[in-house]
Structure formats: structure tokens, C-alpha cells
């Protein structure tokens, strides 16, 4: 049982890391575009990252519960948002 748990946790952490990496690229491109709004190439790159990130987050949320509150993510029953672990506990 413990092995199954740790496997689930490791898979979750792996997926989370992938989201963190991709979102880091998005943040970096976002800040760059704020001061270079007329450059096409980083904008195309940004839109590509948005697509991949939305897909990946949807998969993560289906498995591990909502990443967002306030109407941005749906929830299964019972209300999933309150579920541990919180980010500082992972």
C-alpha cells in the first residue's frame, strides 16, 4: 500500500514539475513581451506554451483536483479545493 502511495505521489510530483517548467517559460516570455510587444517570434512561442500548459493542467486537475479557485476550475463531489496537500506541504 505504501509503495502504491509513493508511486502516486512521485507521478504527481513529476507532472507538477512539468507544469512548473512550462509555466516558467510562459512567465519569462510574458515579461519579455511586456517590453517587446511587437516581436512575433516570442509571441508565437508564448501561444504555443499556452496551448500545452492548458492541456497539461487539465490532465493534472482531473487526477489530483483543481489548481484554481473562483470559477476557473470545476470540482468533483465533495468540494475538492480544500484537499491537502497544500503547496507548502508538498
Amino acid at each position: 500500500m505504501e509503495d502504491v502511495m509513493s508511486h502516486v505521489h512521485m507521478e504527481r510530483m513529476r507532472m507538477l514539475k512539468e507544469i512548473q517548467e512550462l509555466e516558467f517559460v510562459a512567465v519569462e516570455l510574458n515579461l519579455y513581451l511586456d517590453t517587446h510587444p511587437e516581436e512575433r517570434e516570442p509571441l508565437m512561442e508564448y501561444n504555443k506554451v499556452v496551448d500545452r500548459l492548458m492541456h497539461l493542467k487539465k490532465m493534472y486537475e482531473q487526477r489530483y483536483g483543481p489548481l484554481y479557485h473562483f470559477g476557473l476550475s470545476p470540482s468533483a463531489y465533495p468540494w475538492q479545493w480544500i484537499q491537502s496537500p497544500w503547496p507548502w506541504e508538498m
Binding site: Q20, V27, L31, G65, L67, H69, W86, M90
Partner: protein, 215 residues
């Protein structure tokens, strides 16, 4: 408005507690050059920026600093978790325990609480963007000092990430500053408020600006 994302911007893996390091790192939570100061400084200055780029950049970097505050909080929380009282007393965190137990609080490495006087908003976009660039440099230096204070590779890794972000922010603020300056040259009548005395561009910075030429 803001929404919360139930994840950290960067993973914080802490394998062993270190109350002494927690006492030092807390300064990037609530010290003069910490993430609270940074987030509040930028999110507050954006209202009086003249260009779309500067308004967007201050909003976005201010938001990223809030995420950094959470990363720093998580490091400190994990480093302090389950620390025995004797350990806290040994590194002079007895005072912290008396007031806050192991809860987080916005203070610096010497226990001095955060004050709004750490940040400034002058309403002059050129002045404020210089202030922001200085803030990024001060934060970078503090992260370098913190990296020197630990041998723990897990802690060093997160601190290095945070340090690198300050370098990127500094660069972006410099670009926003150059753009604001050229905007003000093109719109000599622009004033942040009716009683503002416009200065000739030569008085803001030396010719060519402070930043080294590109390329």
C-alpha cells in the same frame, strides 16, 4: 483581481531542518529587500505609470514577487517545522517563539518587523523605475549572501532560482525605463500630476542612459 494557483512557482524540496538558515532566509520574506517589499512596491507604483508597457510589467513582476513570497515562506516553514524549542533558543529564535511560535512573520534576519517605509512611490515614473531597478539589485545581493551562508544543496538550488529572477526583472525594468524616457521625450507635455515640473531629459540620466549599450 487576483486568483490563487494551488502550486509553487518552483519546487521547494527541503530534506533536513535548519533553524539557523530559517532565521537568515526570513529576511527575504519580510526584510527591507524581501519579496513582500518587492510585490507591494511594484503593485502600488503601477497606477501612476504613463505607458502600457510599464503598467503591464509592474503588474506582472509584482504578481511574480507574490509567488516568490510563497516560495520563501515555504522554505522557512519547512526549515522550522518540528524544530525543538532548545534548537530555536540556540540560534536566538527564542524571541520569535515567544511572539509567534513557529508561525511565519514578516521580519528581517534580526527580527525587525516589516515597515511600509521600506518601499517608496514618488509618482515620477523615471524615479520609480530607478527605485525598482535598485530594489532588484538589493534583492540579488541578499540572495547571494544567503547562498554563501549555507552548504545545503536543496536550499542553495531554490535561492539560486530566486536570485536569477532578480537579474531578469532588473533587465526588464531597464527596458521599461528606456521606453518611458523616450515616451516622455516625445510627449513633453505629459505630467504625472498637474503641478509636476517637467525636467529636460538630460537631467534624468547621462546621455544614452545608465544602461550599457546593447550588443
Amino acid at each position: 483581481m487576483w486568483v490563487y494557483e494551488k502550486k509553487l512557482q518552483y519546487p521547494v524540496k527541503i530534506s533536513k531542518p535548519d533553524v539557523r538558515m530559517a532565521k537568515y532566509i526570513i529576511t527575504q520574506y519580510g526584510g527591507p529587500d524581501g519579496e513582500l517589499s518587492a510585490a507591494l512596491r511594484y503593485l502600488n507604483q503601477r497606477y501612476t505609470m504613463p505607458t502600457e508597457r510599464a503598467k503591464a510589467l509592474l503588474t506582472d513582476i509584482g504578481t511574480e514577487e507574490l509567488a516568490h513570497m510563497e516560495v520563501v515562506a515555504t522554505i522557512v516553514y519547512k526549515l522550522l517545522k518540528d524544530a525543538p524549542i532548545e534548537e530555536l533558543k540556540r540560534v536566538d529564535l527564542g524571541g520569535h517563539y515567544a511572539q509567534h511560535d513557529r508561525a511565519l512573520f514578516w521580519n528581517d534576519a534580526n527580527g525587525v518587523p516589516w515597515i511600509a517605509a521600506y518601499v517608496q512611490a514618488t509618482g515620477d515614473p523615471v524615479t520609480d523605475l530607478h527605485d525598482d531597478m535598485a530594489a532588484e539589485q538589493k534583492a540579488r545581493t541578499t540572495y547571494e549572501h544567503l547562498i554563501n551562508l549555507t552548504d545545503d544543496p536543496d536550499v542553495k538550488d531554490v535561492l539560486r532560482f530566486l536570485r536569477e529572477r532578480e537579474v531578469v526583472h532588473f533587465q526588464r525594468f531597464g527596458e521599461a525605463l528606456n521606453h518611458v524616457q523616450s515616451f516622455m521625450e516625445k510627449h513633453p507635455g505629459w505630467k504625472p500630476h498637474p503641478d509636476h515640473q517637467p525636467k529636460p531629459p538630460s537631467e534624468w540620466a547621462p546621455p544614452g542612459g545608465w544602461l550599457p549599450p546593447k550588443g
